[in-house]
């Protein structure tokens, strides 16, 4: 994310001073808080694991080996092996893709639904606002993880439904941000100019207001990615969604839970640590992005 914002002005080069100042601001933010740079590096590592992980892992993540069960981490098995002798390192790396896909899909879904509903309710006000507001209030009346459990239980125990449930519980957050941002731009000069030039409401919403609130929405996306990963992993930890042989961080921690008491820590530790690093990375990235987009909201 940082790079997108910071490299485009480089390509556009010096003539535009205001672009240059964005670049300088980005550099200032990163220099001020090197943690953001670290988070960006982690993000690239995770993205690489998701993209090419399955092709470079040393062992088949599903192949069990009864002669090598519950081995502690060694040179052959970097993260050790589980009850069935599967290589945990390979499983952790391969799982990145599935966890990533679940998080991205649910965030994309809620961005499309919540973002649009929020813009529309901020822009139109009136009944649209009331209906969208009531829906968000009803969702917020539940403890979020509990509602996600209920949704997956009712819709059926599949990965798609985990994506849907995660999107639904994040809906109010996106509505709130998009609504506030659209509301302050409702009567802005550029909106009135667009209306005078004969643009319809829908066109103004999508072509004029949406691009303007994108930076703030990107921050929101980055901040909720971490939560989406946690939520999905939590659901699969209690046995919802992903089915056992499939490598996924939440379910791998669940598989290792029983062995913690007898001291085989590596089965649960490595997938749990991967989960933690991924979430940590997205939270830091979101914070850094917010400093970049909206310096006043910094805490």
């Amino acid at each position: 994310m940082n790079e997108n914002i910071s490299t485009t002005p480089v390509a556009a080069a010096a003539p535009k001073p205001e672009n240059n100042s964005i670049f300088r601001h980005a550099r200032y933010v990163v220099a001020e808080n090197p943690v953001t740079g670290l988070a960006f590096g982690l993000f690239i590592l995770i993205a690489l694991c998701a993209l090419i992980g399955p092709y470079i892992v040393p062992h088949d993540p599903l192949a069990s080996d009864t002669t090598a069960t519950l081995h502690a981490p060694s040179l052959k098995h970097w993260f050790g092996t589980d009850q069935l002798g599967r290589d945990i390192f390979s499983r952790v790396v391969v799982a990145t893709r599935l966890d990533f896909i679940i998080a991205i899909a649910s965030v994309a879904l809620v961005f499309a639904l919540g973002g649009f509903a929020g813009i529309a309710s901020g822009f139109f006000g009136g009944w649209t606002d009331r209906i969208v507001g009531r829906i968000s209030d009803t969702i917020m009346a539940f403890p979020l993880f509990v509602l996600a459990m209920g949704i997956v239980a009712a819709l059926g125990n599949t990965v798609t439904n985990i994506v849907i449930a995660t999107a639904v519980v994040n809906f109010p957050l996106y509505v709130r941000v998009a609504r506030a941002e659209a509301n302050i731009r409702r009567e802005a000069g550029f909106v009135q100019a667009a209306r005078l030039s004969g643009n319809g409401d829908m066109r103004i919403l999508l072509a004029h207001i949406l691009p303007n609130i994108m930076p703030i929405m990107m921050v929101q996306i980055s901040l909720t990615m971490g939560y989406a990963i946690l939520n999905a992993a939590g659901l699969s930890f209690i046995g919802l969604g992903v089915r056992p042989p499939t490598p996924e961080w939440g379910i791998m921690v669940a598989e290792g839970a029983a062995n913690i008491i007898s001291g085989e820590w590596w089965i649960a530790l490595f997938p749990g640590a991967a989960l933690m690093i991924a979430v940590f990375c997205f939270n830091l990235l979101g914070d850094g992005l917010r400093d970049l987009v909206d310096p006043q909201r910094r805490t």
């Binding site: 209030d137 979020l144 993880f145 949704i151 009712a154 930890f237 913690i260 933690m276």
Partner: protein, 337 residues
């Protein structure tokens, strides 16, 4: 004051209606045929039809909703398929275990997070401030079930300080006579210190697991609102009048800074009640969360729906209490209401 409480009570009614509608939709209006499900895989068409009529599923949706609300009013949440027990009794029996754990976790995290946030604000930019930031970010990033397992490994397996993570009391101890349902309180009331110690030692690890999870929002909010209050004019006046630092921070700043923190508690409870389910699973805690998880695995719907409804109603009521508390602490809100 009473008028404000009454007004707040009225405000939660639409929320409660929304909750009931959503839980109803989760049970009935979604894909899949509950009648076929209740009849079991061996049932023929006729048997399924009979069950459909018996359950009232042949009626229009609105009639079904009426029946559902009627059942709720009479305290009937259906029966569990696997145990045959009414869901209401089961939830009632298990609720104190969950409540004790959640409240204990909340108190632990308040005790740690509030002083941490205050110190971070007072000594802005110091190592305490940085620690606060790292702890806060790490706290939200840690999957709560993972923290729980780590604590079990370190304190049970490696150090042996903690008992096995298997429920509220170990197998040899007997539960105290039920008064409040909270083992810690009941054992003190009945004067059984041995039971108190045993249940406290079981409660510490899951309590800390929940506490670490909810540390982050409380610490962050305390720090932010302390910073805002410390920069305000009345604090400057207090300092200019020569009051010592301690009085300024505790009497003047802290009391005003607590208001936004109390508002954050609503969000913290949303986290806590959800995380509670995962912690209960890790520590085999006999609360309503683990009840719901067991039911989920066997696709037993009634307990899950009952659980979701109970949690939502609890959460709405907790938010109401927070609102009222806010009014008690801040007279300005009371006057507006």
């Amino acid at each position: 004051m009473l008028r404000m409480i009454a007004k707040r009570m009225v405000l939660i009614i639409p929320n409660l209606i929304g909750v009931v509608i959503v839980t109803f939709l989760l049970t009935r209006a979604l894909p899949g045929d509950p009648a076929a499900y209740f009849a079991g895989p061996a049932a023929d068409k006729q048997a399924i039809e009979q069950i459909r009529v018996k359950l009232g599923l042949d009626k229009p949706l609105i009639v079904q909703f009426g029946r559902y609300v009627n059942d709720l009013v009479h305290g009937d949440l259906g029966n569990s398929l696997s145990t045959g027990q009414p869901v209401v009794t089961e939830i009632k029996n298990r609720l104190p275990a969950s409540a004790e754990l959640t409240l204990f976790g909340l108190i632990l995290s308040m005790v740690i997070a509030v002083p941490l946030g205050i110190l971070a604000a007072v000594k802005q930019g110091s190592w305490i401030d940085h620690t606060c930031r790292v702890v806060a970010t790490a706290g939200v990033s840690l999957p709560v079930f993972f923290t729980g397992l780590l604590l079990v490994y370190v304190f049970y397996f490696e150090l042996g300080w903690s008992p096995a993570p298997l429920g509220r009391l170990d197998a040899f101890a007997t539960a105290p006579a039920q008064i409040t349902g909270f083992y810690l309180i009941d054992s003190v009331l009945t004067g059984k210190l041995e039971t108190f110690r045993a249940s406290l030692s079981q409660l510490l690890l899951p309590g800390f697991t929940l506490g670490i999870f909810s540390l982050a929002p409380i610490a962050r909010m305390t720090r932010a609102s302390m910073l805002a209050v410390l920069a305000s004019e009345f604090v400057r006046t207090a300092r200019a009048s020569g009051l010592d630092n301690r009085t300024v921070i505790i009497t003047y700043a802290f009391r005003n800074a607590m208001l936004p923190v109390i508002t954050t508690l609503g969000m913290v409870f949303s986290f806590l009640l959800g995380a509670n389910v995962l912690v209960e699973k890790v520590f085999a805690w006999p609360g309503i969360g683990s009840y719901a998880v067991e039911a989920l695995i066997t696709s037993d719907f009634a307990p899950v729906q009952g659980f979701v409804l109970t949690m939502a109603v609890l959460y709405v009521v907790l938010n109401l209490i927070i609102d009222i508390l806010y009014g008690v602490i801040d007279p300005r809100v009371r006057l507006d209401g």
